[in-house]
């Protein structure tokens, strides 16, 4: 066998090589006579695919094989092949002789073969890839539906949350008002006057109720900050800072504060919300330096990424333990006792919510008794938007 092959002519070797390709191909291949369209040759894969023996196929036209009974008439296909040089069906559904329904890609080409021409048809089984495509399409549609459903659920949850905060504002405040009212009526009308300790109990009831009222108000304001529409406009931060200082007049008066304020740029944002955020940060700086004979408060531009502007507010006040930095921005989280510094602990939560809604970030650095620096970033505005 080996010696037979070594003595074979180069042409025969080439013939053998391509015959092997033809025999082992995982696509169906037909060779047709260019004039009659009748099958000259068919490869084993096609036999297997259609359940026809090679002998059954040879001499027939493609249309005479039952799986291709719906294909265009032989003459027309030959004409098209002569005119265009090829015929192509991207997705041809077939029924094989043993009843399998498959889909094939069917491509016929006319090739020059020495002096004459032949037609070669490549028939690729695309049943599985079609099924996969259909499955992908189905999954995509389902996914879209799921996203829609989930969005509707979220919107519903949001509405529920809104009506929840609405009823908090009404239904929880009323009993608080009533407790306060009847406690003060009691205090006013009681005879004989209460003992000192009983008076203290009543005062405690009143103070706690008042405090709960403030917390409810703060929580409502916080939820409003989350709901409010953001009106993005150029905001000159210098002018905003002047407004904030006017807002804080009562907190500043009577205090010795050394201000160091650097020029600030114009940024894009919601003026009302940014004023609230700046106000909170500066109010905190004033609050947490109240035990200093001379408070130092610096406001200026910090360093950050290229696409953001960073503004910081730093003070020489009570500072905080860096171990608890992550708690600073939580709702009603406080790092100092209420008898030291007043407030419910909503301010920084508001600041964070506002800055995040603007696409920025907030962070803090501090050391106990050595002051704190609060910074926030806002996206650096495009020059043409200002």
């Amino acid at each position: 066998m080996k010696s037979a092959l070594t003595h074979t002519s180069p042409l025969a070797i080439s013939e053998l090589r391509y015959r092997r390709l033809f025999e082992s191909a995982r696509d169906g291949i037909l060779i047709l006579n260019v004039d009659t369209g009748r099958i000259d040759d068919a490869n084993p894969f096609l036999s297997e695919l259609l359940n026809f023996t090679k002998e059954e196929m040879i001499g027939k036209t493609v249309g005479e094989l039952s799986p291709f009974k719906d294909i265009e008439p032989n003459k027309i296909m030959l004409k098209r092949l002569q005119k265009d040089g090829y015929v192509r069906y991207e997705n041809l559904p077939l029924e094989t002789r043993n009843g399998r329904h498959i889909a094939v890609e069917f491509v016929s080409n006319v090739y020059q073969e020495g002096e004459s021409k032949v037609i070669q048809c490549n028939i690729r089984d695309i049943t599985e890839s079609r099924a996969a495509q259909i499955e992908i399409h189905k999954l995509n549609t389902e996914l879209e539906q799921r996203v829609q459903n989930r969005t509707a659920q979220l919107e519903e949850a949001n509405r529920e949350l809104e009506s929840f905060s609405y009823s908090v504002s009404h239904d929880l405040r009323a009993p608080l008002r009533h407790i306060l009212a009847f406690v003060s009526l009691l205090q006013k009308n009681i005879h004989p006057p209460l003992s000192q300790s009983n008076q203290h109990h009543l005062d405690t009831i009143a103070a706690s109720t008042q405090r709960m009222g403030t917390m409810i108000d703060d929580l409502l304001a916080f939820s409003r900050v989350g709901k409010a529409d953001i009106q993005m406009r150029p905001v000159p931060m210098d002018a905003l800072l002047r407004d904030v200082m006017v807002d804080l007049q009562t907190e500043i008066s009577g205090r010795k504060i050394v201000w160091e304020i650097q020029p600030l740029p114009t940024l894009m944002g919601d003026r009302g919300l940014l004023r609230l955020a700046m106000g909170n940060l500066i109010s905190n700086a004033i609050k947490f330096t109240h035990h200093r004979a001379e408070a130092h408060i610096r406001i200026g531009l910090g360093s950050g990424e290229a696409d953001e502007c960073v503004i910081f507010v730093s003070d020489n006040g009570a500072g905080f333990d860096p171990a608890y930095t992550h708690k600073l921005f939580g709702v009603f989280q406080r790092l100092h006792g209420r008898n030291e510094f007043e407030g419910t602990g909503i301010g920084l939560a508001n600041v964070q919510r506002i800055i995040r809604r603007h696409g920025g970030r907030v962070w803090a650095e501090g050391v106990v008794d050595q002051g704190a620096t609060f910074s926030f970033s806002l996206p650096r505005p495009e020059p043409q938007s200002l």
Binding site: H170, D171, A174, L180, A181, L185, D217
Partner: protein
């Protein structure tokens, strides 16, 4: 002839708030002039002198003190009906509510409310505010002359449906 009822219609479902409001008005000796109803539907029955109020003294109240969140017909609906009725629209309506919600305030002003007052949490402040409302609308403000109804008022359900 219609003679003005010269009273205040207090529309409030919460008994504690009724008690406190009456207490505040009593300090200015206005409490005996207050007619209390407990929801919006009852308020409309009173204003239209029907159901339990067919025999009431004729005329519109000097003012309506209106809570917003109430069972059956809420305050905003009452306000809307008062302000769209030819014979009722001139009654001063003061909304007295716990709600600081901007949406509520905007809707009330859009409906033509005469004043919007948030119930202060602090009791002394609450007393002061209610007293001042009473003083202003009963003593200082001049009410419109009495008007006469030509056609019968629509029933509540129909009027609400019209909205």
């Amino acid at each position: 002839m219609n003679t003005p009822a010269k009273n205040i219609l207090l529309v409030e479902d919460d008994p504690q708030d009724v008690e406190l409001t009456l207490m505040a008005l009593a300090e200015y000796h206005l409490a005996n002039k207050v007619k209390v109803v407990h929801d919006g539907a009852e308020a409309l029955d009173y204003l239209y002198s029907r159901k339990n109020f067919t025999t009431r003294e004729k005329g519109n109240p000097l003012m309506v003190l209106l809570d917003l969140k109430m069972p059956k017909v809420n305050g905003l609906e009452v306000l809307g009906l008062i302000k769209s009725d030819e014979l009722l629209k001139n009654i001063p309506v003061v909304v007295l509510t716990s709600s600081r919600e901007p949406a509520d305030m905007i809707e009330c002003y859009d409906c033509g409310v005469n004043a919007y007052v948030v119930k202060p949490v602090d009791f002394a402040e609450f007393m002061r505010v209610v007293r001042q409302i009473g003083i202003f609308w009963v003593d200082i403000n001049e009410p419109t002359p009495p008007a006469i109804r030509k056609s019968p008022p629509p029933p509540v359900e129909e009027a609400l449906a019209l909205k």
